[in-house]
Amino acid sequence: MSALADLVAHRRVVVCCGTGGVGKTTVAAVVALAAARSGRDAVVVTIDPAKRLADTLGLVELGDAPREIPRERWDLDARAPAQGRLSALMLDTRATFDGLVRRYSADGEQAERILDNRFYRNIAGALSGTQEYMAAEKLHELSDEGGYDLIVVDTPPSRHALDFLDAPQRLTRLLDNRIFRFLMMPTRAYLRIASSAVQRFLRTVGRVIGAEVLDDIVAFFRAFEGMEAGFRDRAVRVGELLLDPSTAFVLITSPRRDSVDEAEFFAARLREAQLGVSALIVNRVHPDFGGGPPDQLRRRAAELREHGDPAAARLGARYENLADYAELGDRERRALRAVATRIGAATVAYVPSLPHDVVDFAALAAVASQLFDHADVSPPSAQHRPAG
């Protein structure tokens, strides 16, 4: 059994991380599918799936609760054990945040005061990191109450790939901000007791953004009073869940150097946070056609171009093309050299560059078999090339 298959068979949580555009959502769906096919009750939490993948997963509308996908849709070759189940959920940031507010408010009135507040609505919708925070929150909720064997979480396409880890602490930090504490005082009272410097400061802020915005902020923090402890406690428990040995982090990258560098940076941050990368998945690797080293192919192409014969020129174009792909392959292999050591991943797996987007179960199953059914998944080899 490959290390990846082991991960799918035994972990309780798999977090898929990486920069935008590398195929995180696809890998998350593939991991959940593989787990379901091996007999586990798996759920995948997606953030912003492409429309056709969302359709495949039965995510026609935003829903705060996971939905089970009928077995006949995903178990195409009817080989999943009877207890295998696959569910999916598309994260609804706002609904998840609203749920959190309701959970920790003292009563319905306090909840409504917060939910109606304009400042809250901006936080719930637009605060950078809110999506990450709510993805972590949803993970926690499913882990506590969902009863699944495996939860696979896609992470939002952040400007900074690390936001997911920081997100639970972010609101707590916001609550601890001195200015915020100050604003928790009864409306307008802050202006009376504040030092003249602070008064000037707040008036300036008010002049720039408008006094009513400032009032909204004050109202929000007053409404929030008494709930910080609950939120803080929740953030701590999300952190513990991420640190739990049954939680695995899977990094996804393209074979391009910038993307691999980014993955390496991410892995270093995970290590700092005492979290290990269980697997690195390199997506969209170009094929190695063989035929010889690129410079040799290029020399041959140049000779053929000078030959003068149109057929030789066409042959030269073919050599040039092969040299281009060989060079691309070499560059990808260079970018990935010793990547397992650099990233500290237990396992590295490769998915070839596919001609079509992976948007249906047949294609997801094909990637799953690429990743999980081969005992030893190795990089496309640069050896065994016949001389050109």
């Binding site: 920069t19 935008g20 590398v22 912003d48 492409a50 056709r52 304009r118 400042f119 901006n122 936080i123 919708g125 637009a126 605060l127 396409p157 400007r159 916001l174 901000n177 001195r178 200015i179 915020f180 000037r200 400061f201 300036t204 802020v205 002049r207 720039v208 953004i209 408008g210 915005v213 400032l214 393209s254 910038d258 094929p287 056609f289 063989g290 035929g291 010889g292 053929l304 030959h307 014969d309 057929a311 030789a312 066409r314 042959l315 174009a317 073919r318 050599y319 093309n321 092969l322 281009d324 792909y325 060079e327 560059r331 001609p355 079509h356 987007d357 948007v359 016949p386 001389a387 050109g388």
Partner: protein, 312 residues
């Protein structure tokens, strides 16, 4: 249409698209093409680490603009620095420092949605009004951020009813909705999902922001190889020998390229049917993106722009 005409259609061009489609490369190539055609061009990077400096072959960009090539300059624009500048210009230098130090900037940014985007776009407007260059090319934030980045001014009008921030938002909307001042060039790969997302973004930008869309750039379409049949047939015609395994590799690589090209063209055609905008197609680049590749893509853009219908 020639490149001069293309450049004079509006002073600001915002290049937008989801992550990984080559937005930054297109920004660099478009700016290079414009500068070569004689326009003075300023590239603006609004998100750190976009790879612009690698593409342009220069050290990381800074808030201070710097010359890159003849008639071509580049700089970054970050919300924090734009805010400091904004406040300092209004004689609030000391306040601005405290805003940053105390974390109040976070509060303000949270309280007012799109505040950061407005600061950046407000500065773009100032550059545009100041006539700092014939053409200002902006490498917009990636992913779904493109729509929210450009939508922020509208959202802000709902939240802030008075004050300088509101004025700023109004000015930004005036810039974005004036086709003679600003256009958005959307970039996509010729693949199913990116094309679908580009179509959604295009309609959202037109309907909700009211911004003028320029031609769409379809990136990384493999060039045709111009060969046909097996390599051994060409070898036989030329009276040359090719070892069998090499012939197999040549054929496999040619077939791969041809398949990718066919699929890319099918997606570009689908895009053309669903979105009635002219397209500029750029070839797949094998090498890592640097000044030489950007130069080649600038040539390809110039050719593409010449094929566009002329100004009416």
């Amino acid at each position: 249409m020639n490149v001069e005409q293309f450049c004079s259609a509006s002073r600001v061009v915002i290049v937008a698209g989801k992550g990984g489609v080559g937005k930054t490369t297109v920004t660099a190539a478009l700016a290079t093409a414009a500068a070569r055609a004689g326009a003075s061009v300023l590239i603006v990077e609004v998100e750190g680490k976009s790879g612009l400096s690698t593409a342009l072959g220069c050290p990381p960009l800074t808030y201070e603009e710097r010359p890159i090539a003849d008639r071509l300059r580049a700089r970054t624009l970050t919300p924090d620095e734009a805010l400091l500048e904004y406040l300092e210009e209004r004689g609030l230098r000391r306040i601005s420092r405290r805003l940053v130090r105390s974390g109040a900037l976070d509060v303000v940014a949270t309280a007012v949605p799109g505040m950061q985007d407005i600061l950046v776009l407000g500065k773009v407007k100032q550059l545009e009004r100041g006539g700092t260059a014939d053409l200002i090319v902006i490498d917009a934030p990636a992913a779904g951020h493109a729509v929210s980045f450009l939508m922020s001014a509208r959202g802000l009008l709902d939240a802030v009813r008075v004050g300088p921030v509101r004025t700023q938002a109004e000015d930004v909307i005036a810039l974005l909705t004036d086709p003679e001042r600003c256009r958005v060039v959307l970039v996509t790969l010729a693949e199913e999902t990116p094309v679908n997302e580009l179509i959604e973004t295009a309609f959202a930008l037109e309907d909700r922001v009211g911004v003028k869309l320029g031609p769409v750039v379809v990136n990384a379409v493999p060039d045709p190889l111009g060969v046909d049949g097996p390599a051994l047939a060409d070898a036989a015609d030329a009276g040359l020998a090719v070892p069998l395994p090499v012939a197999a590799a040549l054929d496999a690589a040619a077939a791969f390229r041809s398949e990718r090209r066919t699929l890319a063209l099918a997606q570009a055609d689908r895009l053309a049917q669903r979105l009635p905008l002219p397209q500029l197609r750029l070839p797949f680049v094998f090498g890592e993106i640097g000044p030489r590749q950007v130069g080649e893509l600038a040539d390809a853009l110039t050719t593409g722009i010449h094929a566009l219908p002329g100004p009416t």
